[in-house]
């Protein structure tokens, strides 16, 4: 069906246009995401939680096909829990990332999933891994993903610093997500944060009208 001559509001499966990101700070990681899920131009869910746990202190940000990323993260949760049982302790973040990579790479033809894996482990501290569409695995201090990420590369390159405090990192992520929501039509709603450090996990929700204001606002 040609959308130009015959426009349809509901098109195809649920997609997460999305802006997602994660950044390491001194003592943990901060993960952030917008909350918009679309089917075509219809916003199927304006308060989505795109940050999902796969283990106590390991979370993932999901972008791409909602169904694909949910299926993948469910598998990883299963494998990680079995692994944690055998290991007798919390698995490392890189193990979770490796499991995501195996699934994303081996099924690359069938999947559309861009995933960010982040968490805190007592031995390694906070870590961030990104697995873009093809199934590559890259470890870095910070990373951004989703359609909205294109608009905030400049901001993030300029404003990220190593060894930020927890509050500085939260502000960095909130400002970045907010800017992406402003410019990207596929991103919107609220900004959800997930802060993981040695004390555990903290979830924060910043409503749309409380987001830091940008130039045109």
């Amino acid at each position: 069906m040609d959308t130009m001559t015959n426009p349809q509001p509901f098109e195809g499966e649920h997609r997460m246009g999305t802006t997602i990101m994660a950044a390491v700070f001194d003592g943990g990681v901060v993960m952030g995401a917008d909350s918009r899920t679309t089917t075509g131009s219809y916003i199927a869910n304006r308060v989505t939680d795109k940050i999902t746990p796969v283990y106590d202190n390991i979370f993932c940000c999901r972008s791409g096909s909602a169904a694909d990323t949910q299926a993948i993260s469910d598998y990883v949760t299963l494998y990680l829990n079995l692994h944690g049982n055998e290991l007798g302790e919390q698995p490392e973040i890189k193990t979770a990332a490796a499991l995501f990579q195996t699934l994303c790479y081996q099924n690359k033809n069938a999947l559309q999933a861009g995933i960010i894996v982040a968490g805190y482990h007592p031995r390694t501290g906070g870590e961030v891994y990104t697995i873009p569409l093809g199934g590559a695995l890259v470890k870095s201090p910070w990373t951004i993903g989703g359609s909205g990420s294109s608009y905030i590369y400049g901001f993030c390159d300029t404003n990220f610093r190593d060894g930020m405090t927890k509050q500085e990192a939260m502000d960095f992520v909130t400002r970045a997500i907010s800017l992406a929501i402003t410019r990207d039509g596929s991103s919107g709603g609220v900004c959800r944060l997930c802060i993981i450090d040695k004390t555990g996990v903290e979830r924060v929700m910043v409503p749309g009208n409380k987001l830091p204001k940008a130039y045109e606002d």
Binding site: E86, L87, G88, K94, T95, A98, L99, T102, R123
Partner: protein
């Protein structure tokens, strides 16, 4: 030997009235007939020493290894039936390889030990299979540090600071208990292991033996390797000299 477990000892699927599975006990006897193997876990690594009894002067010295590499960071030594040990080595290598494939990481020592224990235990459940006729020791260095495990034919796995299996295991255990293992380095442990093997070797019943030594420690870059020739030979020479001195003193 008709007395021991008459009637209750023919298969693994029979318990004796006092709750033993005799086939498993008999498997342990096979282990006790083999040359002694000693493992020491010390401050910075793990050392194996094996008394490899030589059955023929025509044997090439390094053949019939008693110590194997399972992965770069794990070593295995055994006492008992050598052919059974080969099966276990292959299984351990398979487990390590599959773990690495799936998790993109080295298999931790305690995970491999538990998998090998489960594997060996499975062979104590059926009447159409016999238990493995060997006890194995695993040495590893991973994120938990140096570790030493021992698994018996029954499938029980233990984690040790120091242990021995085979003929003279009791005598060797006595010598091990005299050592302060947490204060030794791997180098020092090599010398101690050599001394223990020479001390417990039975000159009367068994003639020649070859001493196999392996270690995993910072000096080997935390990889399981045979102890370098010079160090091994130096340790052996020193031990022989000490023992000769001791013999002279006794007179």
């Amino acid at each position: 030997m008709s007395g021991l477990g008459t009637g209750y000892d023919l298969s693994c699927t029979t318990f004796s009235p006092d709750g033993r599975v005799f086939q498993v006990d008999y498997a342990l006897k096979a282990v006790e007939n083999s040359g002694t193997a000693v493992g020491l876990r010390v401050k910075d690594g793990v050392v194996f020493g094996v008394e490899k009894l030589i059955v023929s002067k025509m044997l090439e010295p390094t053949s019939n290894r008693r110590i194997f590499n399972i992965d770069r960071h794990i070593g295995l030594s055994f006492a008992g039936l050598q052919a059974d040990a080969r099966q276990l080595v292959n299984r351990a290598r398979l487990e390590a390889k599959n773990y690495r494939n799936f998790y993109q990481d080295d298999i931790p020592g305690h995970v491999l030990a538990e998998r090998m224990a489960a594997f060996m235990q499975a062979y104590t459940l059926y009447s159409h299979m016999r238990p493995f006729g060997c006890s194995i020791m695993l040495s590893s260095v991973d994120r938990r540090g140096p570790q030493l495990f021992m698994i018996e034919p029954s499938g029980i796995s233990y984690s040790y600071y120091g242990t021995s299996i085979g003929k003279a295991k009791q005598a060797a255990k006595g010598e091990i208990e005299k050592l302060k293992l947490s204060e030794l380095t791997a180098r020092e442990a090599v010398a101690e292991v050599a001394k223990i093997i020479y001390q417990v070797h039975d000159e009367v019943k068994d003639k020649e033996f070859e001493l196999e030594l392996s270690w995993i420690c910072p000096e080997s870059k935390n990889r399981h390797e045979m102890v370098p020739k010079e160090i091994a030979q130096a340790a052996e020479a020193k031990v022989k000299a000490e023992l000769e001195e001791a013999m002279v003193d006794e007179d």
